[in-house]
């Protein structure tokens, strides 16, 4: 079992690896569809995928995960061939690569649990053979039945000989030359994000290298540390080369060469050597720092340093490290040895001059001979600015809870009844409390935004799903994604992934028919599933639309009657209620259960998950034309702006977002239909009136509309009036759920605690509006009370 630190690294790798795979899969599919459409390969996408696999490989090598290393290497090789324009991408290739992704996921899961990737050799070999075959077909060479030695090299970079290494370098160099040629299709567009990631990675890698060097300085024969350092340096070199940072690449390459020689015993490891190597690390750091500041990562005296290294290699390769004069020539790097003092017994003094060396090393200060070349020339490296940090979600949750409590506490102080009773000027108090209120609001905004995550990750995962399902069912399906940048709370992301999968499965399995059938009904052979996210009012709407057959009203009804969910023949049940039936647990109209769907579990999951986050599911459907499922999810899960209203002696809160305006009415504006429903004429617009006291069955203070207040509210486009006794005030409220014990309460979405400590219920405007539409009978029976 690896030590705690290693475990942490492994877990970080698993997390990163999953992210990388999440990124790769949709790209692979994009690649496939593009090459299918136009026969052309999108090199930009290809390069990105290549880089993702490469990162994974690098990480695996660094952490000693041979299986992952092998598999990613093979996949990378295949991708590289495409990248170079050898062979065209076929569906089979993409299949193979997505399978590779699946397998890698499995391996990552295993790493997550047992911290290694052993035990998958058979699967791995099978995959590698398959990949090798494709590679062989493209390159026209013999198929090798077993993984070739190159893979073993990846598995254990330790055994890589320096020669192989040199060979490794060659193609990289030629690639770069090609890249310099100008109009080159493989030219990589480097996004700021890639650079950011590179900076963060490099920082870690360099720290690791540095730590290893420091240990090696003490124990030059510690081969494990040499290998560690080598691996880290190699990854760093690879990354730098990939992004085209020549100086960094060359310098690290030289350091790597030195290290390689040490590893093979060709060079004697001693303190001077490590001082030199540590210097190199510092220079690499300077490059990274200037990169993080947005400048070019050029190292001022890179060429000098390199020749310095070369000289050192030359000198030291000769097995006898003779004591040399203090040749360290400050300021002007020359191809002269920089060795300071070779006297083994006499350790160099603590690096007084090495103020420039910012060490993040956790090991105890090590002697660091710091008399070096070019020291004057190098600016003090600043600490690299990290753009992001990983934070435990639990901490965030605690933070959000605390902010919620703070909002309540703030209201309790500034609106304290004791203060209201005071008979003195409160000017100062009010000023301060306004200030406090503002800060509290800002804090709350920030705290909420921390947890906001774009939907793109979740959406992109569906690309893979759609592709797989389409293949499995023999249908042609196109997935369109709109608004993937829409940000929602993290909890929402977690809760909607499953529902999306189920809805999309349903769409493809039941909604969209086979190409031939589609053609018959006059549609294009390829069905379209549209996944869209947008903000509507205080909600995020995620809609999943397909242009399939839509829902079958008769089929659903007959099934529902069979199950006893609907009484009678169901002919009087409105459409939208019929559609809601599909959410009942165990409800399925499928004639047979396939491995895609049909058990009737999916939609139940959808409803439950969405209700968990106080959301709603709506189904719209035009038979024959397609169906749409809309997930309506409240934007903020914890705090809303509310208007406190009074009905009788009870206070209620209405979310401000739902309120259009608040008015007083006169008798002239009111029309009462014969069934008692009051209609209000507001500047020419007619709105039905719901009396809150009747709706909630409370004894009101006013029964005449002109005596009280009429509030015009809106729910998804439908406007209506709420009649209340009076407005009490506006306040930010922290939503608390009503006890689980109570279950769902009619048209109440939750509650909050007011400044005086009493509990106040929050009106669910959508629930009220539903009431008017769904059961007009109930409304009239309530509406006839007064004459």
């Amino acid at each position: 079992m690896p030590d705690a630190e290693q475990q942490e690294l492994l877990l970080a790798f698993v997390e990163e690896g999953r992210e990388l795979l999440d990124e790769s899969e949709p790209l692979l599919i994009e690649l496939e569809s593009r090459s299918n459409e136009s026969g052309e390969v999108d090199y930009e996408v290809l390069n990105t995928i290549f880089r993702l696999f490469h990162s994974l490989k690098g990480g695996a090598g660094f952490l000693d995960l041979p299986t992952i290393g092998k598999v990613t290497h093979k996949a990378e090789t295949l991708l590289d061939l495409f990248r170079k324009g050898n062979g065209s991408i076929k569906s089979g290739h993409i299949d193979l690569l997505t399978r590779t992704c699946d397998f890698l996921r499995k391996l990552l899961d295993n790493v997550d649990v047992s911290f290694n990737d052993n035990g998958f050799d058979d699967d791995a070999n099978e995959l590698i053979v398959a990949l090798s075959k494709e590679i062989a077909i493209i390159t026209g060479t013999e198929v090798e039945a077993t993984p070739e030695p190159v893979e073993i090299a990846i598995e254990e970079p330790v055994s890589e000989s320096s020669d192989e290494h040199g060979a490794d370098e060659a193609p990289a160099d030629s690639e770069e030359t090609a890249a310099d040629d100008g109009e080159d299709p493989f030219k990589l567009t480097i996004t700021p994000e890639m650079v950011k990631q590179y900076i963060a990675e490099s920082e870690d890698l360099l720290s690791a290298v540095e730590d290893s060097f420091l240990i090696l300085d003490k124990e030059p024969d510690n081969s494990e540390e040499i290998n560690d350092a080598f691996r880290s340096l190699h990854s760093f070199k690879g990354n730098s080369g990939f992004l085209g940072f020549k100086d960094l690449e060359n310098l690290s390459h030289k350091a790597e060469t030195v290290l390689d020689k040490v590893r093979l015993g060709e060079m004697k490891a001693n303190t001077e050597l490590f001082s030199l190597l540590l210097e190199i690390v510092d220079f690499l750091r300077i490059g990274i720092t200037s990169l993080s500041e947005g400048k070019d990562p050029d190292i001022p005296s890179a060429s000098g340093l390199i020749s310095l290294m070369e000289a050192a290699i030359k000198k030291m390769t000769i097995e006898t490290p003779k004591p040399k004069a203090d040749g360290a020539d400050k300021a002007s790097p020359q191809p002269t040895p920089t060795v300071v003092n070779t006297d083994k017994g006499k350790e160099a003094p603590e690096p007084v001059e090495s103020a420039a060396v910012v060490k993040t090393s956790k090991s105890a200060p090590k002697p660091l001979p710091a008399k070096t070349t070019a020291q004057k020339a190098k600016p003090a490296p600043k600490a690299v600015q990290r753009q992001s940090i990983r934070v435990d979600v639990e901490k965030l949750e605690v933070l959000l809870d605390l902010v919620g409590e703070l909002v309540i506490a703030e209201a309790m102080v500034s609106q304290n009844p004791d203060i209201k009773d005071l008979d003195v000027s409160l000017e100062n108090f009010e000023k301060s409390s306004m200030h406090l209120n503002k800060i509290t609001r800002d804090l709350q905004d920030v705290a909420t935004s921390i947890r906001m995550v774009p939907l793109s990750g979740t959406f992109r995962r569906m690309i893979r799903l759609v592709r797989d399902l389409a293949q499995k069912t023999g249908k042609k399906v196109d997935l369109q994604i709109i608004g993937e940048g829409t940000e929602v709370d993290k909890t929402v992301i977690e809760q909607i992934a499953d529902p999306l999968v189920h809805i999309i499965r349903n769409s493809i399995d039941h909604g969209i028919s086979k190409p031939a059938d589609r053609k018959k009904s006059g549609k294009s052979e390829t069905g379209t599933v549209t996944l869209e996210a947008k903000y509507v009012g205080g909600e995020v709407w995620i809609s999943i639309k397909d242009d399939g057959n839509g829902l079958n009203r008769e089929k659903i009804l007959s099934k529902a009657i069979e199950k006893g969910l609907v009484e009678g023949d169901g002919s009087d049940v409105p459409d939208h209620e019929v559609w809601q039936l599909i959410f009942a647990p165990g409800f399925s109209t499928a004639d047979k259960v396939t491995d895609v769907s049909g058990r009737g579990v999916g939609m139940d999951v959808v409803k439950r998950n969405i209700e968990n986050i106080r959301g709603k599911v709506e189904v719209n459907c035009v038979p024959g034309k397609g169906s749409e499922v809309v997930l309506r999810i409240p934007l903020t899960l914890a705090i809303i702006d509310g208007m406190i209203i009074k009905v009788g002696s009870t206070l209620y809160i209405i979310p401000i977002i739902a309120i259009i305006e608040t008015i007083r009415v006169s008798y002239d504006d009111i029309t009462k239909t014969m069934d008692g429903q009051e209609i209000l004429n507001v500047r020419g617009h007619l709105h039905p009136v719901i009396r809150m006291h009747e709706f909630y069955n409370i004894e009101p203070a006013h029964t005449e509309l002109p005596d009280g207040i009429v509030m015009i509210v809106e729910d998804s486009g439908k406007r209506f009036c709420l009649f209340v006794d009076e407005l009490v005030g506006q306040q930010q409220v922290v939503i608390k759920g009503l006890s689980e014990y109570l279950g769902h309460i009619h048209a109440i979405s939750g509650c909050t605690i007011l400044a005086d400590g009493t509990v106040c219920l929050i009106v669910d405007v959508a629930g009220v509006s539903k009431e008017i539409e769904i059961s007009p009978q109930k409304l009239t029976s309530m509406g006839v009370v007064e004459v």
Binding site: T650, E740, Y741, V759
Partner: protein, 172 residues
């Protein structure tokens, strides 16, 4: 494992922990009208005075509403109404017994709380199944204490006996 160690793991509350030994046979008794009732102390979290109750629309009549218990919103049940006894105005002596079952806190409104007493199992008799009245099924047994009889309630049934059905019905 010691009791403290278990507590630190947070897996058990004091009540649940002690349930096994020290709290067995201990009942909290309270009064409703002329009769004394008892509930197992292991489920009781605290006893508080009557508070401002916020009405809930559309709930059974015994579900009086919700209260704010130090920032936590918990529902309260009027036990009198639950047993179909005559309603009584709340007064100074009216108490809310907060019980916690299945990780949910619920308040029980009773006329007044009496005391905590030991009623060993041997002194508890099954309730004679004469009537099938509303309250009957919540009785766990009849505890004899000296010459008096305490009606011992099954808290679980009291809270979940029928509501669970109702609530799940309401949900679908």
């Amino acid at each position: 494992m010691t009791a403290t160690a278990e507590l630190e793991t947070g897996a058990f509350t004091d009540e649940a922990l002690d349930n096994e030994d020290t709290q067995k046979g201990k009942y909290l008794t309270f009064q409703l009208g002329d009769e004394e009732y008892g509930i197992e102390i292991s489920n009781v979290t605290e006893i508080i005075g009557i508070q401002t109750i916020t009405d809930l629309p559309d709930t059974p009549h015994f579900m009086k509403g919700v209260i704010n218990l130090r920032g936590k919103v918990i529902p309260v049940i009027d036990v009198r109404l639950k047993f179909n006894l005559e309603a009584k105005a709340y007064a100074d002596r009216t108490c809310i017994i907060v019980v916690n079952i299945r990780n949910m806190s619920v308040g029980l409104i009773v006329d007044t709380v009496s005391e905590v007493m030991d009623i060993p199992d041997k002194n508890v008799e099954d309730a004679p199944k004469v009537n099938n009245s509303a309250g009957g099924r919540y009785i766990k047994g009849l505890g004899k204490v000296e010459d008096k009889v305490k009606i011992l309630l099954d808290t679980h049934k009291l809270l979940f006996g029928d509501e669970i059905d109702q609530i799940s019905e309401a949900m679908f």
